[in-house]
């Protein structure tokens, strides 16, 4: 295509991908390969039977849960590690395994880990820091929520986002990043701890998949999206999530005494890498 100034550029479309007709005309071998790839990309949820036995419904094998707190991204996960998981007796009770083109082949590490506390077993915390491909998001949500009892369930999602994604009529420099914005499902009755996400901003990725599922299945859910202007995980962004957990303060204790130390450890690695002269 020639532009206004005459140079020829290859056309890129926001909406459609090229070679869209090829998929229809594939032979059996292609289909076989496609099936194998699909199988490899399947999402697996594993629960630790000993840890969940006491809270599993005998009838439908679902795990009882009153609050499911999810952290998507390194800042959200770091916040939970520093303020919540380091105190109280949190034990890993489940994990989600998946493979996609960005996974490291050698490591068999779970992509998401689910924790619960021994003295308050109905709160589950899920930390998710790895990349989940677009075609795996729906499956992830369906499979994880299939294991959790829906009655009386409340979902809180904490999610990282880059400031570059935030649309506002004002300049992005005047908004004072990092800051929180909320989105809630129709069933969520309480007041969010921060302003709601303005139009025309949207949320994508795992947080969107979970919130869509909750909206459609009528589960009360709230998403706190933290917009940050720092590329790597940093302590200031992690602290921004604090108000998001205040509604859960009776169930989840925010431990602030050791958190500074842990936060320092979490971000130390990045600091060392980002400075050319150390």
């Amino acid at each position: 295509m020639a532009t206004f100034f005459g140079e020829v550029v290859s056309v890129y479309s926001r909406a459609v991908e090229e070679d869209e007709e090829d998929v229809d005309n594939e032979n059996e071998e292609d289909q076989q390969i496609r099936r194998e790839i699909e199988q490899k990309r399947e999402v697996h949820v594993n629960w630790c039977p000993e840890a969940t036995q006491s809270i599993t419904n005998p009838s439908d094998r679902t795990v009882q849960c009153s609050n499911f707190v999810m952290a998507v991204g390194p800042n959200a996960a770091g916040f939970l590690s520093a303020y919540v998981l380091n105190s109280g007796n949190w034990v890993a009770v489940g994990s989600v395994m998946l493979w996609n083109e960005r996974s490291k082949d050698s490591s068999q590490q779970p992509s998401c880990v689910i924790y619960r506390q021994s003295d308050c077993p109905k709160v589950l915390i899920c930390q998710c820091t790895c990349y989940i491909a677009e075609d795996q998001l729906f499956q992830w949500t369906e499979k994880v929520f299939a294991c959790i009892q829906q009655r009386g369930l409340n979902v809180t999602v904490l999610s990282d986002c880059s400031m570059a994604e935030y649309k506002s009529p004002d300049s992005p420099f005047s908004s004072g990043a990092p800051f929180l914005r909320a989105l809630k499902s129709s069933q969520y009755g309480s007041q969010p701890a921060c302003p709601l996400l303005e139009q025309p901003n949207i949320v994508t990725g795992l947080a969107a998949a979970v919130l869509s599922h909750c909206q459609v299945q009528r589960i009360p859910a709230i998403l706190y999206q933290c917009y940050s202007d720092v590329l790597l995980p940093d302590s200031l962004t992690m602290e921004t999530y604090k108000p998001a957990l205040t509604p859960l303060s009776k169930l989840v204790k925010l431990d602030t005494c050791q958190s500074t130390e842990i936060l320092r450890k979490l971000v130390q690695f990045n600091e060392a890498q980002s400075n050319l002269y150390t």
């Binding site: 479309s13 909406a15 459609v16 007709e21 005047s174 989105l183 025309p200 949320v203």
Partner: protein, 258 residues
């Protein structure tokens, strides 16, 4: 699959369904937005499927001053029972390996809901038009045989142009022709499926280039209105632009640069 909203039990019997194809310039989706926002249609359900990339946001049709808290998802169904009209809006791309299942899902939903006819709003790359296509209006239509029986010659009387078939081997064979809709996403596939499954489908599409496609959306939706008379008389159609169309070209400028 279609999941209705609590307290509504929509019946789509004898309704017309309008839906976009996710295609070049997102023209079909923009035109669909215009219909929903202008007719002030109410949401009756979700189209919840793993074939689409998940996204959520706040109600895109609420005025920006209104602190609306209605969550919107990837694909939603809106209805206007007075007009016997249902609209499916799709807000994100279809996952490439899941185009076929998605088409199947749409067709089985159309069949089970009892829609009288379906209109697919679509677009195609303007730069791939051939000589005869360049010399005329950019708007085209296609009717499946089942739709042809319903509509008859109504569209020809409106002076609409049918999408031309291209020669498969130009210069060699004049007889073999094929339908070619580059950049049209699932348009061709859905049309072919509807032909073989005897589903009444009309494709209304425009040739366009990627860029500011709002004028294309207005042209497409006004063209559709000439046929379906969704808003008033064709001449005085006033389309309402949804508030969520703001900031399509980026944020405000930092004042410090002046």
């Amino acid at each position: 699959m279609f999941i209705q909203i609590e307290n509504t039990s929509p019946s789509f019997k004898e309704f017309t369904l309008v839906m976009p194809a996710v295609s070049v310039g997102n023209v079909g989706q923009l035109a669909t937005d215009l219909i929903i926002s202008t007719l002030n249609m109410s949401r009756v359900g979700y189209f919840h499927t793993g074939c689409l990339i998940p996204m959520v946001g706040n109600n895109p049709y609420a005025p920006s001053a209104d602190n609306s808290t209605e969550l919107c998802t990837t694909a939603e169904v809106y209805a206007s029972p007075d007009l016997k009209l249902a609209v499916l809006q799709i807000r994100s791309p279809i996952i490439q390996t899941k185009r076929k299942p998605f088409r199947k899902l749409i067709i089985s939903w159309i069949k089970s809901s009892g829609f009288a006819r379906t209109v697919l709003l679509s677009s195609s790359h303007a730069y791939q038009r051939d000589d005869q296509q360049i010399h005329s209006t950019p708007l085209r239509y296609l009717l499946s045989p089942a739709m042809q029986r319903v509509v008859g010659d109504a569209l020809k009387e409106l002076d609409w142009r049918e999408m031309e078939k291209l020669k498969m081997f130009p210069g060699l064979s004049e007889t073999e022709e094929r339908l070619y809709i580059p950049g049209g996403g699932i348009t061709k596939g859905l049309y072919t499926d509807c032909c073989s499954e005897d589903v009444p489908l009309a494709v209304v599409l425009t040739f366009c280039s990627e860029g500011d496609n709002i004028p294309d959306a207005f042209a497409l939706v006004s063209h559709l209105n000439d046929w379906l008379h969704l808003v008033g008389k064709p001449s005085d159609a006033q389309w309402k632009v949804p508030d969520s169309w703001r900031l399509l070209f980026g944020n405000g400028i930092p004042l410090a640069i002046f």
